[in-house]
């Protein structure tokens, strides 16, 4: 039985998403919505992992330790200051699009990891796990939809202006 593997995959994917949400927000701090929503959603990912923790124990999963401390470290401060320089230049748009696309893939990756775990939870008839995963999957899916919306709105200005 590989339930522990499915849980570890979710853990890795959500931790990676949380980190990227925060980093992208820092790197594009002049895009205020990305900065604030990035941090909010990063916290939400951390909550997903907390909700999953009891099941990691139940199925003997040993997720890699993550670093989801939300207080701004030195690196983030540097990134934020860098963002102010990038934020006033005309090249900002291309950098933004590249980062948003990466972030979108991370969100897709996490969403799929939840789908896999949900399927496994159903086959295990684990009602508690099904409930938690259903909720977290919905939110992970919405994170992807948000990024898709944001990318669609940003693209014309970056590629079609001028």
């Amino acid at each position: 039985m590989n339930m522990h593997k499915a849980i570890e995959d979710v853990h890795d994917a959500e931790a990676e998403l949380a980190k990227r949400l925060r980093m992208t927000g820092e790197r594009h701090a002049s895009e205020s919505d990305l900065y604030h929503l990035g941090h909010t959603l990063s916290r939400r990912s951390a909550e997903h992992l907390q909700a999953l923790a009891p099941f990691a124990d139940r199925y003997g999963a040993k997720p890699a330790p993550d670093d989801l401390d939300t207080s701004p470290g030195v690196l983030e401060t540097v990134r934020r200051m860098g963002a102010q320089v990038i934020g006033h230049s005309e090249a900002a748009g291309l950098v933004l699009m590249a980062d948003l696309r990466e972030l979108y893939l991370a969100a897709q990756h996490a969403e799929l990891a939840w789908v896999v775990l949900l399927q496994a939870a159903k086959a295990k008839r684990d009602a508690e796990l099904i409930e938690v995963v259903t909720h977290c999957h919905e939110e992970a899916e919405m994170c992807g939809k948000w990024l898709r919306t944001r990318i669609k709105e940003a693209a014309p200005q970056v590629y079609a202006a001028g």
Partner: protein, 810 residues
């Protein structure tokens, strides 16, 4: 004669439940003017979103006074202090009367030809180098329908950029979006007459005693009559409204959603849900019930810092209402999780089945007098006639009427919101920005940033205004605009009442209406339709109105039954007004069929937490199809929680005596003297801890800036600091603080609601320190309003003598 500065709401005319609100005609004429010598011209007030019907008194080509229109359904003859005195701004000595062009760093007088040639030349340059996406337009909530519709056609159909928004983004974007999310389209469901017949009022984040004084007069008359309505009020300040409430919930700023979720939970747990209504006319109940289940009163009390028993008491009042009116405004809209909260206020009425019938409705109110028209004409984040930008049939229909290729109309995304327009200007993506009738250098958040954006060499800024505002001082070209009463046009209030406002006097000097300026711009740019004819086919406001009525045919805001002639005399008329409803429509959704048919709806909706836009297939999957959508969201902590460095929460608002950045009201001596300078409000306990006495000068500082003003110790809740947002720098001949910052937006943060994109003006973390002794002299804040001092009794603010109130005897 009454002093309507000290007596803001005028004399009481009590009335019982369900009766007609008595008529009381308010009139003010300048000293020495005799009624026999004036000519009355029909209009309506533009100093809040009530749009009270008024007549303008004209003598020798000048405005000399006003009176309320007794026949008007909105105000039954009454006017508020701003309406009674604000007209004096038209004759101000510092009106702009000639175009100004920046030469060698200075704004210098120029002819219209010189100014417009320059505007057109720069437009062409930017269009050549950057295309339509290099062009941005930021308009107002105070122009007329005809101005907006002309701007909308020129910008969207002609230039073809999505970068057009109104300052309505700061005031009513959340009203608009909350209505779209829940009911499928914009449009207030109810009528102001619902205040006559309700038995319970749920007033959320809204101080009508100062923002909508004539509405508050109506409520006061109910409160003074038999069977007064019970009131639940949510406001961090002890406003006059809060003082009259049965239950006042002074929540900690930024926690509205937790409170609303808590109240919804109590309604569900307490068995106050109208199950047959919810089953038949809504979708989403199970998800909503599941979402709010965790918000028990004890948990909510902890988040919001109000007693759990008060939350229960509020829910009991709302739950036992038979006719419930809920209202919502900036305390919700300009806070964290704005749209999510406003939707929960809709949900309160939907769970109780109280909508679409007398005394039962929800008001997502507006702030500005013509905000509704930016939404109807598509001069903001919407498409004309409440069309859905994601619906290709709607776009094609509009293109057909405009005579342009559907591809010409930017519909690949929603129209760009104001904060994003300024962001594009900041990064150099927008190179041309035309600002009409609004003052972002004072009214947008984080002012040092806005000033630096507008001051960029690479950005060409055109400002159309009646005064040399802080924003105009940063412009490359300034165009003098005609104001209200100097042009003819229409506008619509927050219960869908359309008024006609006739030209009463000539504009000063060479000032022109915004519609005329944009007609000139279109002509000079040679904008044309697919047949090579001029894009904008009208020349007069009336022709424009008729064209607009045509474009609304079959849409929720159907104007086809309205005309200038029909609006002349009598009362304003509520849309939809068409062949089926020739006298207008008092209430929407009386059959409980909502505008959520996927082919008809204005928007497919959003995820409330992230703002992710739903697509048609997502919306179809919800299965609303005529039912209202109960949307749910979890409370999230605010973006900038108080901490050791910045331990207090900052909130901003309006006083009864001023409008926006005071460009109009500071020119009316009665209003200006009532609130002559900035102040800051502290709670008694915070003042005590900080060693601040009434009238001492304090510095309020956030991570983004600081302001300095005299302190008023008021009934604001502990931990919250309030400042009015009116006080910028134009009357110091400056665009910037110059060492003495007073504009509240020096402190606010650049962040907005994920759905409505309305900036969050309320809830920045700040610290306060005392910087000078006030010598025992009280702060220059009004004493007749929410800024009433708690320490000692001061004489009432006064200086508005000479108003005649005539109560019609029945």
């Amino acid at each position: 004669m009454t002093d309507r500065i000290s007596d803001i709401w005028g004399s009481r005319t009590p009335y019982p439940t369900g009766a007609d609100w008595p008529v009381r005609t308010d009139q003010y004429l300048a000293d020495g003017v005799s009624e026999a010598d004036v000519t009355w011209v029909q209009s309506a007030c533009v100093l809040c979103s009530m749009d009270c019907g008024m007549d303008v008194a004209v003598q020798d080509g000048r405005i000399v006074g006003v009176r309320g229109r007794a026949t008007d359904r909105v105000n039954h003859g009454r006017l508020g202090p701003k309406g009674l005195f604000g007209w004096q701004a038209n004759a101000a000595a510092d009106r702009l009367t000639r175009p100004l062009v920046r030469r060698n760093g200075n704004l210098e007088p120029a002819t219209w030809d010189e100014a417009m040639d320059l505007v057109v030349e720069r437009s062409r340059q930017v269009l050549d180098s950057h295309g339509p996406l290099g062009m941005g337009f930021y308009t107002s909530g105070q122009l007329f329908l005809e101005d907006y519709y002309t701007i909308g056609l020129v910008v969207r159909g002609g230039i073809g950029t999505p970068h057009l928004d109104g300052n309505t983004r700061l005031c009513t974007a959340t009203s608009d979006f909350a209505l779209k999310e829940t009911f499928g389209s914009d449009g207030a469901p109810g009528s102001l007459t619902d205040f006559d017949s309700c038995d319970t009022l749920f007033i959320v984040g809204h101080n009508p005693a100062e923002t909508h004084t004539v509405l508050w007069a109506r409520i006061l008359d109910r409160l003074a009559g038999p069977n007064p309505p019970r009131m639940v009020v949510v406001d961090p300040r002890r406003t006059k409204v809060a003082g009259a409430a049965d239950v006042h919930l002074p929540v900690r700023s930024g926690t509205n959603l937790a409170l609303l979720n808590g109240i919804l939970r109590e309604l569900i747990v307490g068995g106050h849900v109208d199950k047959s209504f919810v089953d038949a006319h809504t979708v989403g109940f199970d998800k909503l019930a599941q979402t709010v289940a965790d918000y028990d009163p004890e948990r909510v009390a902890e988040i919001c810092a109000v007693p759990a028993d008060d939350i229960r008491a509020a829910a009991r009042l709302i739950g036992s209402a038979e006719r419930l009116v809920s209202t919502c405004l900036q305390g919700v809209y300009q806070s964290h999780q704005a749209t999510a909260t406003a939707c929960q206020v809709n949900n309160v009425n939907l769970l109780r089945g109280m909508i679409g019938k007398p005394g039962c409705t929800v008001f997502q109110l507006n702030g500005q007098p013509t905000a509704q028209n930016t939404r109807e004409t598509g001069a903001d984040g919407d498409m004309v006639g409440f069309r859905n930008w994601q619906n290709p049939d709607h776009v094609a229909d509009l293109a057909r009427i405009w005579g342009v290729d559907p591809l010409q109309i930017p519909a690949w995304s929603p129209p760009t919101h104001a904060m994003q327009i300024f962001r594009y200007a900041e990064e150099g993506a927008i190179r041309f920005l035309w600002i009409t009738g609004t003052n972002p250098a004072v009214s947008l958040p984080e002012l040092h940033r806005i000033r630096s954006i507008l001051s960029q060499e690479r950005l060409f800024v055109v400002v159309t205004d009646a005064f040399l505002t802080e924003t105009a001082r940063l412009a490359d070209v300034v165009l003098p605009a005609a104001m209200w009463a100097e042009k003819t046009g229409t506008f619509t209030n927050h219960d869908r009442t359309v008024h006609l406002s006739e030209r009463a006097i000539d504009p000063p000097g060479e000032a022109r209406s915004d519609m005329d300026i944009f007609l000139d711009y279109a002509r000079r740019l040679e904008l044309s339709n697919s047949d090579g004819e001029p894009l904008v086919p009208w020349r007069t406001p009336e022709e424009c109105f008729t064209a607009f009525a045509r474009v609304t045919e079959g849409r929720p805001c159907d104007y086809t039954g309205l005309s200038y002639d029909k609006l002349r005399g009598g009362s304003g008329i509520q849309w939809p007004c068409n062949a089926d409803a020739p006298d207008g429509t008092e209430r929407l959704y009386t059959d409980h069929v909502f505008n959520t048919d996927p082919d008809y709806c204005e928007d497919y909706g959003h995820d409330l937490a992230t703002g992710a836009a739903l697509e048609r297939k997502d919306f179809v999957a919800i299965g609303a199809a005529g039912r209202a959508v109960l949307k749910a969201a979890q409370y999230q902590p605010a973006h900038e929680p108080p901490d050791d460095d910045y331990p207090l929460l900052f909130t901003t608002g309006r006083t009864a005596y001023h409008w926006h950045t005071r460009t109009k009201t500071a020119h009316a001596p009665q209003l200006q003297n009532a609130a002559p300078e900035a102040w800051v409000e502290l709670s008694p306990s915070d003042a005590d801890r900080l060693g601040v006495a009434e009238g001492d000068v304090v510095r309020v500082e956030s991570r983004r800036g600081r302001i300095e003003a005299k302190a008023r110790i008021s009934g604001v809740r502990e931990g919250v600091v309030f400042a009015p947002f009116h006080f910028g720098y134009w009357d110091r001949d400056s665009d910037a603080p110059d060492g003495r910052p007073t504009a509240a937006n020096e402190l606010t943060m650049t962040v907005w609601d994920p759905v409505s994109k309305q900036p969050q003006f309320k809830g920045a973390a700040v610290r306060v320190e005392r910087i000078a002794d006030g010598g025992g002299v009280p702060a220059p804040a009004p004493t007749t309003t929410a800024s009433e001092p708690v320490i000692g009794k001061l004489p009432p603010t006064s200086g508005g003598a000479g108003v005649r109130e005539t109560v019609e005897q029945r």
